[in-house]
């Protein structure tokens, strides 16, 4: 089997030749460690543009964001190939620079009303969420009009070029999935409005929150359809519906205000023969039925440090969802020994692997993940993941 066939087999809940291996991303500092540092970093370019064009640098930088993101994701896929992953995901992050003379930080804004800081990750841009600005009904109306009109037009055009370029270059060596990491429906809504305003409206006017999710889902769906026009077959919807000790809101409310939005996306992807997985950190155990009912083909993260018991999840929904993740990024992929990494991968394969429909994957990703540990995760998957399993 090649990487694509292996991944699609597990998403069809079948047994492949071997358990596949995936990560949601590789941070740019680690990409540099794997591929070697480029001579000119993102921040070098940024400083140069600012210096050479002090009056118009925002426009110029925002125009450059598209090519910078294409190059960043393309290098990330190259790094994934180099360490031997079967699948890597790419996805445009819709941000633009802001010029605020009173602000020392390099700020970005997105179409959902979020303000980000472009942090310097060893010369690379690392977008970091600061706060939301869609904190009134009037502001939501503006965001809605912008999303439905100019933003949809802009990004549906762009993502086609973005995916086509990256996939064309790498598709023979790895399966390139699409994600809306940092721009998922739930996180864009709750962070764009800020958690306080989001919670207030959820209590006072749940129909407004339902509408917010549906408008963002429509934007997401339109972008996903453009990605599919360019050949994409697998999507990883970024969720973050839970935190360390449980879901952000009651499962009942998730059904009420979020399920229709997710169904809009999953139905559209399935209609065209694609697959779609939900990524969410945290203790998701109470949300397993919700994930199935939303129509997702898989669930990613299964974070052991948030108390997610892979054996329980496999037993409960292993015949309905492809399970992905379970390798911890607090210790195992940061400062654990090779033996500990191998043990974690062996446990994951032994527990999640029987019958297929399982992908070894880092539960999340951050710049502190150690490249040798990532390599050990891939090596161990290849060593212990061949079917029939013998563990």
């Amino acid at each position: 089997m090649n990487c694509r066939e292996r991944i699609l087999a597990v998403l069809n809940l079948e047994e492949p030749d071997r358990v596949p291996c995936h990560t949601i991303l590789i941070d740019a500092n680690n990409v540099d460690k794997i591929l070697g540092k480029p001579q000119i970093t993102d921040f070098d370019t940024f400083e140069e543009v600012k210096r050479d064009n002090p009056d118009n640098w925002v426009k110029e930088m925002s125009a450059l964001v598209e090519s910078v993101e294409t190059s960043v994701f393309s290098r990330m896929v190259e790094a994934a190939i180099e360490i031997g992953l079967d699948c890597m995901q790419v996805g445009f992050v819709p941000v633009e620079f802001i010029d605020d003379p009173n602000e020392e930080r390099n700020l970005l804004k997105d179409p959902f009303g979020r303000i980000w800081e472009a942090r310097d990750n060893e010369g690379n841009f690392n977008p970091y969420y600061l706060y939301g600005t869609t904190n009134s009904i009037e502001k939501w109306k503006e965001v809605k009009e912008n999303l439905k009109g100019p933003m949809t037009e802009k990004y549906t055009k762009f993502v086609k070029k973005f995916y086509r370029r990256i996939n064309k270059k790498h598709k023979d060596k790895i399966f390139v999935a699409v994600t809306n990491d940092l721009a998922g429906v739930f996180e864009s809504a709750s962070q764009g409005m800020g958690m306080a305003f989001y919670s207030r409206m959820l209590h006072k006017d749940p129909n407004l929150i339902k509408e917010v999710h549906e408008v963002i889902a429509q934007f997401t769906k339109d972008c996903y359809m453009s990605y599919m026009d360019a050949g994409a077959e697998l999507f990883i919807e970024s969720g973050d519906l839970a935190y360390k000790t449980g879901p952000m809101m009651s499962p009942k409310k998730f059904y009420e205000v979020l399920l229709p939005a997710y169904k809009m996306i999953t139905d559209a992807v399935h209609e065209r023969g694609g697959k779609i997985v939900l990524h969410t950190d945290g203790r998701v155990t109470q949300l397993l039925d919700f994930v199935v009912d939303c129509g997702f083909d898989g669930l990613h993260s299964l974070e052991p440090t948030a108390g997610v018991d892979l054996a329980f999840v496999k037993k409960k929904v292993g015949d309905k969802l492809c399970l992905m993740g379970n390798i911890d990024v607090a210790h195992i992929l940061v400062d654990a020994t090779k033996e500990e990494v191998y043990d974690a991968v062996k446990y994951a394969i032994k527990t999640g692997g029987p019958g297929g429909s399982f992908v070894v994957s880092a539960a999340n990703m951050h710049p502190g993940v150690n490249v040798p540990n990532l390599r050990w995760m891939v090596e161990a998957t290849k060593e212990f993941g061949t079917y029939p399993l013998n563990l």
């Binding site: 969420y129 306080a196 959820l202 209590h203 440090t305 502190g368």
Partner: protein, 211 residues
């Protein structure tokens, strides 16, 4: 305005009505602001209980915090300058350097206020030296740090060591919270205690003060 009604408004997360109700209790009924606080605290205790039994989730905790914030806008001026207010235990809360998450920190702050602590909120992305200076200035008994990022948990050690260097570590308790942490790791990093969430955080702070 009776106390049961105030308690009920907190439990039912009535953030739009609480300020008016507290105002009535203070100005019309001339109730002791600390008795009002007790009524609100009862409400928060019930919110905490509902959270622990999964009747309430994070969004309800956030709303309870919003409700208390509205109540304190009226109650705080009424409490100011009283003897009971002066004697409250001071707790410094903040998110560590490099981290800009504040949901957990804000919840803890509101819950501590409702448990009659004096809360000094230094905000997010706070340098260790700023914390040390504030401990010196306020004589706070507890520092509560939030770190949601794996990348920033080592800041806990930085704060612990900075307090040691300033000769303050024995005078102040250090409690931490955040997704990448657990009790073992927290202690390894130099903290005295750890809590998974704001509800447990208040309980742990009371425990470490008593110990």
């Amino acid at each position: 305005m009776d106390f049961e009604k105030l308690t009920e408004l907190v439990i039912e997360l009535e953030f739009d009505d609480i300020a008016e109700a507290v105002k009535e209790a203070v100005e019309v009924d001339e109730k002791d602001p600390f008795d009002i606080l007790n009524a609100l605290t009862k409400g928060m205790d019930e919110v905490g209980r509902r959270y622990e039994t999964e009747e309430y989730y994070l969004t309800e905790l956030v709303l309870a915090g919003e409700t208390m914030k509205e109540a304190f806008k009226v109650l705080k001026p009424a409490m100011a300058g009283t003897e009971k207010s002066e004697n409250r235990i001071k707790v410094i809360i903040c998110t560590v350097k490099g981290d800009n998450h504040d949901i957990g920190k804000n919840l803890l702050g509101t819950m501590l206020l409702s448990s009659n602590f004096e809360v000094i909120d230094l905000g997010m992305d706070v340098d260790a030296q700023v914390i040390v200076d504030k401990v010196k200035e306020t004589d706070a008994k507890v520092v509560a740090l939030s770190s949601l990022l794996t990348m920033t948990v080592n800041q806990i050690t930085t704060v612990h060591e900075a307090l040691q260097t300033a000769g303050l570590r024995d005078k102040v308790k250090l409690i931490v919270g955040g997704a990448p942490l657990n009790m073992d790791l927290a202690k390894k990093l130099g903290a005295d205690s750890f809590a998974d969430d704001a509800v447990l955080g208040v309980r742990r702070i009371k425990e470490i003060i008593e110990s």
